[in-house]
């Protein structure tokens, strides 16, 4: 599927592509067009597609070129690669934080998943509790985590 078909299918309006106005040169527009076609071939959702198109616009304006196609065979891989290019400082900080948080002494059996939610990064913690004793152990573990985080 090319970009025009994807845009029709997702009922995109001109207003959705406001960010494109910043592309000023034919070269920038041509590169955007190629990248948009590549994106459409992966058939992302409306909001995911727009978010990547805006990131691509920024990256073109930042001077990136053909290297923007790296990882473009899979939507998730591509999106992740583009995020690292568009948000290099935050990506680096998040990686360090993720490593630090994952190494903490979380309660036994808990599931820890690093996440960025808007302007905050942290972990989502899933716990299973079946008794008061479980809860006591978990709280003790969490206190150790708190001590480690505060260091």
């Amino acid at each position: 599927m090319d970009f025009t078909s994807w845009a029709l299918q997702k009922k995109l309006k001109d207003q959705d592509l406001l960010f494109k106005r910043a592309l000023k040169t034919p070269l920038q527009e041509a590169l955007f067009s190629k990248l948009a076609n590549q994106l459409a071939s992966l058939n992302p959702t409306y909001s995911e597609g727009l978010s990547v198109l805006e990131m691509l616009t920024d990256l073109i304006l930042m001077g990136h070129n053909e290297m923007l196609f790296e990882g473009a065979e899979s939507f998730e891989t591509w999106k992740s690669a583009l995020k690292k290019l568009r948000f290099p400082e935050t990506s680096q900080r998040d990686e360090l934080l993720k490593t630090k948080l994952e190494q903490l002494p979380w309660p036994y059996g808990s599931k820890v998943k690093f996440e960025r939610r808007g302007d905050k990064a942290g972990v989502e913690l899933k716990l299973f509790v079946s008794s008061a004793t479980d809860l006591t152990k978990i709280l003790a573990s969490l206190e150790r985590v708190q001590v480690e985080i505060s260091k």
Binding site: L18, F19, R21, A22, K24, T57, D58, L61, M62, R86, F87, P88, E89, T90, R93, L97, R116, G118, D119, K120, A121
Partner: protein, 382 residues
Amino acid sequence: MIMLPTFDRIFIDKTSEDSEVALRVRSLYPAEIITSSDERQPNANENFSLDKKGPMTADEFNLSKRTLLLTTFKGQFFKRCPGATQKKALTCCNYHVLNLGSQCNMNCSYCYLQSYLNSRTTKIFTNIDQALAELKEMADQHPDQPFRVGTGEVIDSLSLDLLTLYSRRLIEFINQYPKWILEFKTKSNNVEQFLDLKTAGNTVVSWSINPPYIIDREEHGTARFYERIAAAIKCRDQGYKIAFHIDPMIWHPEWKENYSYLAEELNRQFNPSDVHIISLGSLRFQPEQRHMMRERFGLDSLVTRAEMFSSEGNKLRYDAALRSEMFQFMIKKMKALDSAWNIFLCMETPETWIQSFDKVPMQVPELRSLFKPLPQIRDFQS
């Protein structure tokens, strides 16, 4: 010699024709760029309408900076700061605003007016008497409450003051209410026009300031760093209180060096007793503003390149941990230079306050009076 703001066109509404500001503007600008107009009867030959409202294109926004409209304001002049409307999300410092115009003749890349304004002109409201009457009504009701009134919310307080001389009217007014505080907020160095007036000590002339590195890159058409410092020294020497708003702090690879330089320069040029307050804020803007900024400044700006994320209150901001790091760095730096510096955060969440100060403002003795709830202003429309 007066350096006048540049305008391509000036329109004077019929309701403003006889105002002092209109007379002054006519005496300062060439007649060929001045047109008498009536907002209700736009000239069909104009290629834009003074009445046109709604989101602007980048070109329309640029043009609005070069088109001046003198008109009267029909609504309520005196309002609470927009931060107060987000009390659940933000910690607010009881600032009140008196809007005597809108738009700005300077051109900062991050300016929030890019997503706020919908009028195609820079407006100066000529009915200052009405604004002062509103202020008087409130001040007479609460003369002993420490209301802070700022004029720099949607227009720079002093960059167009050479045309209006409103600073003089406002200083003379506020001198009658010593408990009230009037704050001019500016990025200009226009202060000579009021320095001959005596102050009752309750007029604060404040500068939004950043390191020279940021001013040179992001604050186009503003007074340069040392011009602002020189203007602040003149005000201090005449007995005016001064303040600095280090806002927005803008991340860049050398931010620590550049903000250290700013702190050291402020500490070198001023004593904490000279400076009413230093406020800190970090880069933030409404999500829809990013399109206008991208179109107007490309991606060469530290602002458009910034790594921003949605936050409480729906604005885009830096990562919360980075914001705290920047605030803590600046607070630590200033306090290390002199522990007497009085610093607070502007439009920030309680979490960021706690991470930066270990306290919310009501727990900081020197800030308590700023954040103490005040009587609500009544709606003059009702």
